[in-house]
């Protein structure tokens, strides 16, 4: 199968993308039922709310402790991994990460890479980069396999093809895979995919994987998966390259246990995954299998920007479970593609501005009603609504204003009109006399209320002031009481 070019959805066009997604009734239906299913699964995985609360508190504490010691833990990780025979590479940008990975594959004259699921590889557009150099990168996670075949990007960080119906996948397999009859039998579809992939594992020159937890004290890369494809990618080819963001490091092996439990239960309501891989180096002398070389690429790509700010650092606590998307009323209506970013949904709205700059993600921090469903389910208690409000502030802050930790794209959403409107609002609402006059005029002139109110009247009748304000009604009643 030839890998398709990825379809890029620039996040600058978020509003247009969202509008198109909202009009797609098939997509709306699939998303809604999928998200309802995932919410119910999560809920059933945490029957005891006290245990859930305690576990979330523990998860938050672990992630915060590890982040507070991030620089030294990364050094320790490198040292232990090196001692275990793993080569560690540091990449500041996606271009650097791509160059490192391409270099490793090219050094062996490799032409085929099999990939386990890795959102960081999506983040750096690895498949695209390798293809441009004549190297085929084949996704082996079933969801990723489907979206790659469709020439799309994942719509969800855990379930990449969750937006697709059974019929759509059946049609896709039938059209794209030679000699494949049309079938909507899920088991049969999975069998078709697995058979196609089985050959690729044996032929591949290199296997690529992500990392869920990188343990500093032992130099262990933990990989959480259900399909066994992760194990195949990391053990069958001679060369294994793992890639992850710098924030994924944890201090101790025992830190992994609660985080793993939170991850699988929050993501899909599973008590534990079918596979949990702990990778601690290449094949050792006398061992019969395993890769001969293992490399880890540690990517920054804007994470240091979030790290530098005490409040925004909490963004990096994320363990990528996707629960925030599953519970988000915005994500569940527009799906992941509309965001135009690797990470969609609430976590995407708070991480993407660091990866891509506020200038490229201008509409994302405001794409939330701040309902708080995301923060409520976050297994490591990231206060996502609070992060969104902070990013709104930074995108409204004038570009020239000096601050301690300026964000890339500061002021991207600042407009003179909006700034003036809020200043006018302040003048009215911070002064009782002006406010009283405003209330009196607005109620007396209610007949002049504009019939079209930007944004609002698209979905509502116009906001029309009452005949009298509450202030007035209270004053009138007090006057009546004095008279009687």
């Amino acid at each position: 199968m030839n890998s398709q070019p990825v379809t890029l959805y620039p996040s600058r066009q978020f509003k247009d993308n969202a509008r198109a997604a909202l009009a797609d009734t098939e997509l709306r239906g699939s998303l809604r039922s999928a998200m309802d299913f995932l919410m119910a699964k999560r809920s059933s995985a945490f029957p005891d709310t006290d245990e859930l609360d305690a576990l979330r508190t523990l998860g938050e504490a672990i992630r915060q402790r590890c982040l507070s010691r991030l620089p030294e833990l990364l050094e320790q990780l490198e040292e232990r991994l090196t001692a275990n025979g793993v080569t560690v590479h540091w990449a500041e940008t996606p271009a650097q990460a791509n160059a490192i990975i391409h270099g490793l594959v090219a050094a062996r004259n490799g032409t085929l890479m099999v990939k386990g699921k890795s959102m960081v590889s999506e983040e750096i557009e690895l498949n695209h980069h390798l293809e441009a150099h004549g190297i085929q990168a084949l996704e082996s996670d079933m969801g990723e396999y489907i979206v790659q075949m469709a020439g799309e990007k994942p719509t969800h960080i855990i379930m990449p093809a969750i937006h697709k119906t059974k019929a759509q996948i059946a049609r896709l397999f039938h059209e794209k895979l030679p000699d494949t009859p049309y079938t909507e039998d899920v088991d049969a579809l999975i069998r078709i995919g697995r058979n196609a992939l089985r050959e690729a594992y044996l032929q591949a020159d290199v296997g690529l994987s992500g990392v869920n937890f990188a343990v500093a004290e032992t130099g262990t890369l933990c990989l959480v998966e259900n399909e066994g494809n992760g194990r195949m990618c990391t053990t069958v080819p001679d060369l294994h390259i793992a890639i992850t963001g710098i924030e994924k490091v944890v201090e101790k092996l025992e830190d992994v246990v609660p985080l793993y439990s939170l991850l699988t239960r929050s993501a899909i309501g599973q008590p534990i995954t079918t596979y949990f891989n702990m990778i601690s180096g290449p094949r050792r002398p006398g061992e019969k299998d395993g890769p001969r070389e293992v490399h880890l690429v540690l990517l920054d790509n804007g994470r240091s920007q979030a790290y530098a700010d005490q409040q925004l650092r909490k963004t990096l606590q994320c363990i990528r479970c996707g629960a925030c998307m599953n519970h988000c009323p915005v994500y569940s209506r527009i799906g992941g593609h509309a965001y135009g970013t690797t990470y969609p949904g609430p976590i995407g709205e708070i991480i993407s501005p660091h990866l891509l700059g506020l200038e490229n993600t201008r509409d994302l921090p405001t794409a939330s009603s701040l309902c708080g469903a995301c923060g409520e389910v976050c297994p490591v208690r990231i206060p996502i609504p609070e992060m969104l409000m902070r990013l709104r502030e930074e995108s409204q802050r004038p570009a020239g204003e000096a601050v301690d930790h300026p964000l890339r794209g500061q002021g991207a959403a600042a407009s003179t009109t909006e700034a003036l409107a809020w200043r006018a609002w302040r003048r009215v609402y911070a002064s009782p006399g002006t406010y009283r006059l405003f209330g009196w005029s607005a109620t007396r002139l209610r007949a002049l209320t504009p019939p079209t109110q930007a944004g609002w009247t698209q979905n509502h009748v116009p906001m029309t002031p009452a005949p009298k304000t509450l202030h007035e009604l209270v004053r009138e009643r007090e006057a009546r009481r004095k008279e009687s």
Binding site: S369, L370, G372, A373, E394, R426, H460, H471, V474
Partner: protein, 248 residues
């Protein structure tokens, strides 16, 4: 919890301008229960619209203008979960490191959401004088998640003998208001309020109640635009007063 003799009412800017009757009904209901209600005339807004839109300075200036309005140590009752959440949880953050911080924290501690006050401070025991009806309840996200009072409105409605409370589909989901969200992202907000309005219609409720003016304006504004159904919402205070014969 002890029963206070007096309370302040922070009416909120939306109630003030767009649904003052709900504010009056809250006052009347509290007064019929023997509580003296003080309505500071210099009140305007908690600052939430600017705060959630990324303009904390403007929000702080407006909030600062409200700090002198509650000199007594009585509870500050707010007939809106989201404004209550702003006062109780966001004001201390907004004033962190400011000279007023200590005062703000003390004020925040006295803030009580209306339904919470009625149920948990007054243990309201109504005599329902209204005809049999079916009512759906929409709880605002701030009431649910910031004020942790998602069950108080249910409990109050459930105390009315002739009222059947019906549950609507995805009841815990946001109605799509979100302040400036509904103006900046009207397509998404529109899809959300459409689903909420449909869920309320399909619930078989004759009317619905909510203790949050923002949600009420959002859902009623949508229902009125569609004109497809007579279903409308009321503020919880108005509904409770009406059911207990206090609304003439």
């Amino acid at each position: 919890m002890s029963r206070p003799s007096d309370v302040y009412l922070f009416g909120t800017c939306l109630v003030d301008l767009f649904m003052p009757d709900a504010g009056m009904d809250a006052i009347t209901l509290l007064e019929t229960l023997g509580i003296r209600v003080h309505f500071p005339q210099a009140q305007s807004c908690c600052g939430q619209p600017a705060y959630t839109s990324g303009h904390p300075r403007e929000a702080r200036d407006v909030a600062r203008s409200q700090l002198d309005l509650f000199p007594g140590d009585w509870p500050i009752v707010v007939p809106s979960g989201s404004c209550g959440g702003m006062l109780k949880h966001h004001w201390p953050t907004l004033f962190a490191g400011e000279p007023e911080q200590e005062r703000v924290v003390a004020i925040a501690a006295r803030v009580v959401e209306f339904s919470d006050f009625l149920l948990n401070h007054l243990d309201w025991q109504p005599v329902d004088t209204g005809p049999a009806t079916r009512v759906a309840v929409h709880t605002s996200c701030s009431a649910r998640r910031e004020m942790n009072v998602h069950t108080t409105s249910w409990a109050l409605v459930d105390r009315l003998a002739n009222v059947t409370r019906v549950v609507h589909d995805h009841e815990s989901e946001c109605c799509g208001f979100g302040g400036t969200f509904s103006i900046k992202h009207p397509d998404i907000a529109g899809a959300m309020v459409t689903d909420k309005a449909r869920a309320l219609e399909d619930s078989g409720a004759i009317e619905f109640v909510t203790a949050d003016a923002g949600c009420l304006m959002n859902i009623n504004g949508k229902l009125a635009l569609d004109k497809a159904t007579p279903l409308r919402g009321k503020h919880l205070a108005s509904f409770l007063l009406e059911r207990t014969g206090g609304k003439s």
